[in-house]
């Protein structure tokens, strides 16, 4: 490339144009875009433009470097002057007016050119050696502010010739010198690039009175206030890397300030960026940033805390809002601190903003912290350039990059994955909560479910179970909830009803409806009682040998006589109602008859009374004497009544073993004895037999048991029944006593009494168990009912929803 000599004005003009075209702050100007517009504005025919481009070598390079641009401009001027376009004409043509660009955009340029030309004309053609622009390290990217770019380039160009230029350009240099003096207490070469453009720019703006309009126009691109700010910002001595510049530079703040100012001056000086990447950081910029970073944080691998950064950037006089936004953009990992890369990005953004660039909404790729794998997170664009830059500032970025990339790499991933994780966790948590709730609800169901089968199973025939129980004379284990039954079984014979009642209440506590169970207890009791009463009254299914269950059962006619059944029913009623009392009552009737006949020789009669007495003694205490006598009497009476007191025997048998009961006939004493010895409901039998025994004959005995039985049905009549029974037993006993077997009955009575006692006791036990069982069944049924109701209610709310 031939050396291109440009006058100062030309240099200024060209640099301005270049900066204008180099809107992206790179030192390259694309062939299209503004350059093209510029050339078009030159009102040159297209072929001329192409020729120019060829000549300057832009076509070769594909872009306009600074030198190419300058050459092109020169050629434009040549062409506009009418000279033939020739490479030689670049330098040969002297007094070449500045290229004129007519387009509206270029009006300013044209005006500027005019001013320049005027200046140039005034100044003549000073052969300012144009330093090869590409080779100049001074080429820096900058904002699009033309005047800022212009003075920069001119300053750049003038640097090596500053001693020459400054005196030449008196007007501009005066302030320039002023600025320079003010800003360069000790002119350092390194500072000149920084200071030069800055002061030059401002005096340039001031000096160019004629171009004030142009300045104004120029400044239209970048508002003066920022420039002023730049200036003021740059006022602070741009000590840059040299900390010795200012005494205050020792302090971080001032250093920072100066550094910032120097940097901003640097920025001012720099050319506008190229089209490729407006945000690319040039090498010098980067180096500057790094140096600034060092002032705050010596360790390049370290962080700048937020407060220090805030202080630093506040000096740029940018609005806090913008600074906040810049921070948002630059703090990539959102840690409140700036790494070197982040700091450079932030600084760059500040510079750009100062120069009038609008802050981007998101961080440009070139400014992103250097990552290893940045392609996925940012455009490919200028990353290589940046990477190259990253390599340039020595160790810091590469060393940081391993840490940063991992951070930044994973950051978006973390953001996304955290979202996913969050959702997962949320889902899981919610699901857990849901399941927890469900699980909370669930146990209730199993409980109810567990409860349910119990009553369900219980429902089917309580009565039958009662009968079964009575048959077995033991605890009924058909109910799986054996504790209930076990408890029922465990309940002793005494206080059966009371215990069963209590137990019923206790059992129902376990179930769902404790309250209901409590309320239902009396019901249960009543029901039990009633059931038992009814059962005793009806007892359809009772085929158990125990006397109580079967009452008026046509199918269950062990005894041919209805009387026997009635006696059974009566006795069952008696037994059901009050264990002891009934037993006593039951016991009494059968025992009563033989009692009054202890002296009688009637064996069977005696026997009966013995049994009755035994029962009586077992259950009640009042008729103690009577049973004793009947004991004796029983045997005798029994023997006596063996044939005659069939009813009694039958009654006894029916009470104890319904099947065993013989027909209303004169049962054998053995049978009667056998009957007497059975442990079934002796009370009933005795009660039945008592009235039976009352009657001297089988038939005569039959009626008495009936009335006795009937009377025995009511609890209230127990006593009178007892009396009656006693009377009847007495009658029976008398009858039995009349039997010739009286003397024998004494011993037999004893045995009979004892046997009867045993039987009565057993009957008592059985009855008690039956009672408890029935009550339990009732309770279970009620529980089941309650649980079903609860289920129904549970199902109902769904219908509401």
């Amino acid at each position: 490339m031939e050396g291109l000599t440009l006058s100062d004005a030309e240099q200024k003009y060209y640099s301005d144009l270049f900066s204008y075209c180099d809107s992206e702050s790179t030192k390259k100007v694309a062939a299209h875009g503004r350059v093209l517009e510029l050339f078009r504005a030159a009102q040159l025919p297209n072929d001329v433009v192409h020729q120019i481009m060829e000549l300057c070598g832009a076509t070769r390079l594909g872009y306009f470097g600074r030198s190419q641009f300058y050459i092109a401009l020169k050629l434009v001027a040549v062409a506009q002057s009418g000279f033939p376009l020739r490479v030689e004409s670049i330098n040969t043509v002297k007094d070449l007016p500045l290229p004129r660009f007519v387009a509206s955009k270029n009006e300013q340029e044209s005006r500027h050119a005019a001013s320049y030309s005027s200046d140039s004309e005034n100044q003549g053609s000073y052969s300012g050696v144009i330093p090869p622009p590409p080779g100049r390290g001074q080429v820096k990217k900058g904002s699009t502010s033309h005047d800022t770019g212009q003075p920069r380039t001119s300053a750049d160009q003038q640097e090596p010739v500053s001693p020459v230029v400054s005196p030449q350009q008196s007007p501009p240099t005066s302030p320039h010198t002023w600025r320079k003096h003010s800003r360069h207490p000790s002119g350092g070469n390194s500072e000149r690039p920084l200071a030069g453009p800055g002061p030059f720019w401002s005096p340039f703006g001031e000096a160019q009175s004629g171009s004030s309009a142009g300045d104004a126009v120029w400044s239209g691109h970048s508002p003066p206030p920022p420039q002023e700010n730049w200036v003021s910002f740059a006022d602070t001595p741009p000590t840059s890397t040299l900390l010795t510049m200012h005494p205050a530079s020792v302090q971080d703040q001032t250093t920072v300030r100066t550094v910032a100012s120097a940097t901003t001056a640097n920025e001012i000086r720099r050319q506008s960026s190229s089209y490729d990447d407006p945000w690319k950081i040039t090498d010098e910029q980067r180096q500057y940033y790094v140096n600034q970073f060092k002032t705050i944080q010596p360790d390049l691998n370290g962080f700048i805390p937020g407060s220090a950064a805030k202080e630093f950037f506040t000096k740029s006089k940018l609005p806090i809002l913008e600074l906040s936004h810049i921070w948002e953009l630059s703090d990539f990992d959102k840690d409140g601190a700036l790494t070197l890369d982040e700091f450079c990005a932030a600084f760059h953004l500040v510079v750009a903003r100062k120069n009038g660039y609008d802050l981007p909404e998101k961080l440009p790729e070139s400014l992103m912290p250097k990552l290893i794998d940045l392609e996925d997170s940012a455009d490919v664009g200028d990353q290589p350039g940046e990477v190259g830059y990253s390599g340039s500032p020595a160790e810091a970025p590469p060393s940081k990059s391993p840490s940063m990339p991992s951070l930044n790499q994973t950051w978006p991933e973390l953001n996304q994955s955290s979202e996913q994780w969050e959702t997962f966790s949320e889902r899981s948590s919610s699901s857990q909560t849901l399941t927890q709730f469900d699980s909370n609800i669930a146990p209730a169901d199993p409980d109810t479910a567990i409860v349910h089968p119990v009553p369900i199973r219980m429902t089917p025939s309580k009565i039958h179970m009662q009968e079964m129980e009575l048959k077995r004379t033991g605890s009924d284990h058909t109910n799986p909830t054996s504790p209930l039954l076990v408890k029922t079984a465990d309940l002793s014979e005494e206080n059966k009803i009371n215990s069963s009642v209590k137990f019923a209440s206790g059992n129902t506590v376990d179930g769902y409806s404790s309250s209901d169970s409590f309320t239902s207890d009396p019901e249960q009791i009543g029901n039990n009682v009633a059931r038992q009463r009814s059962h005793s009254g009806m007892s359809p299914d009772n085929t158990a040998p125990p006397p109580p269950p079967p009452r008026p059962q046509p199918s269950h006619s062990r005894s041919s006589s209805l009387d026997m059944n009635r006696t059974f029913s009566v006795t069952t009623d008696l037994c059901v109602h009050t264990g002891q009392q009934q037993a006593g009552v039951v016991a009494q009737p059968p025992a009563v008859p033989p009692r009054p006949q202890p002296s009688q020789a009637a064996g069977p009669v005696v026997h009966r009374p013995v049994d009755a007495d035994g029962l009586i003694t077992h259950t009640s205490t009042s008729p103690q004497q009577i049973p004793e006598q009947p004991n004796f009497a029983d045997f005798s009476q029994f023997e006596v009544f063996a044939a005659s007191n069939v009813n009694e025997e039958q009654d006894d048998e029916a009470e104890k073993h319904p099947e065993v009961l013989p027909v209303e006939k004169a049962s054998d004493p053995a049978s009667s004895l056998r009957v007497a010895k059975t442990d079934s409901k002796i009370e009933e039998k005795t009660a039945a037999s008592a009235p039976a025994n009352v009657s001297k004959g089988t038939t005569p005995l039959a009626p008495p048991p009936k009335p006795v039985r009937r009377r025995l049905k009511s609890e209230d009549e127990l006593r009178p029944e007892v009396d009656e029974h006693t009377q009847k037993t007495g009658v029976l006993a008398a009858v039995l006593a009349s039997q010739p077997s009286i003397p024998r009955s004494v011993g037999k009575d004893k045995k009979a009494i004892q046997a009867s006692i045993r039987r009565n006791k057993e009957t008592n036990t059985v009855l008690a168990r039956l009672n408890s069982e029935l009550q339990q069944q009732l309770k279970d049924v009620l529980e089941e009912r309650i649980s079903l109701e609860v289920q129904l209610e549970q199902l109902r709310p769904f219908s509401h929803l």
């Binding site: 805030k310 936004h325 921070w327 840690d335 409140g336 969050e422 966790s425 919610s430």
Partner: protein, 144 residues
């Protein structure tokens, strides 16, 4: 004690019971939403006092549905620094699942944290972060 209110509708971020950030999607009836949020502040305070723990558990930060009104549901969220986020959602929206509400609050919290990390942001200022705005906008667009 900042507040954020988001509705299908409105986003309000309050600090110390005065708003830090407000955003509504349908711009009408904003005052109504403001009123609802202020009333919900009491509910939030009540829940905070009820919790009484100092744990940083995420679940405790999320307060859940504060109370449903005839048209709107109000959700609450409190950060460790007692900054409250209140979200008012239109009931006519296909009922947002609890997960979604939680995720929205989490995003809000993260964005708010990012805002707080900015040294240029003074706690108590109105939040003017563009990133925050963008996030809230995207969230509300998603909701509506």
């Amino acid at each position: 004690m900042g507040w954020i209110l988001v509705t299908s509708a409105t986003v309000i971020l309050f600090l110390q019971n005065y708003p830090l950030y407000i955003r509504s999607v349908p711009t009408e009836n904003e005052l109504k939403f403001h009123y609802m949020v202020h009333t919900s502040l009491d509910v939030v305070d009540e829940k905070i006092s009820a919790m009484g723990k100092a744990l940083v558990d995420q679940r405790e930060l999320y307060l859940g549905l504060l109370y449903p009104t005839e048209d709107y549901k109000v959700y609450g969220y409190v950060t460790n620094s007692k900054v409250k986020f209140v979200m008012v959602v239109d009931s006519s929206n296909t009922a947002l699942r609890d997960n979604e509400i939680r995720s929205m609050f989490r995003k809000l919290h993260n964005s708010y944290t990012d805002v707080m990390c900015n040294p240029f942001y003074n706690p108590g200022d109105r939040i003017q972060s563009r990133a925050f705005d963008g996030m809230v906008t995207s969230m509300m667009i998603q909701v509506c």
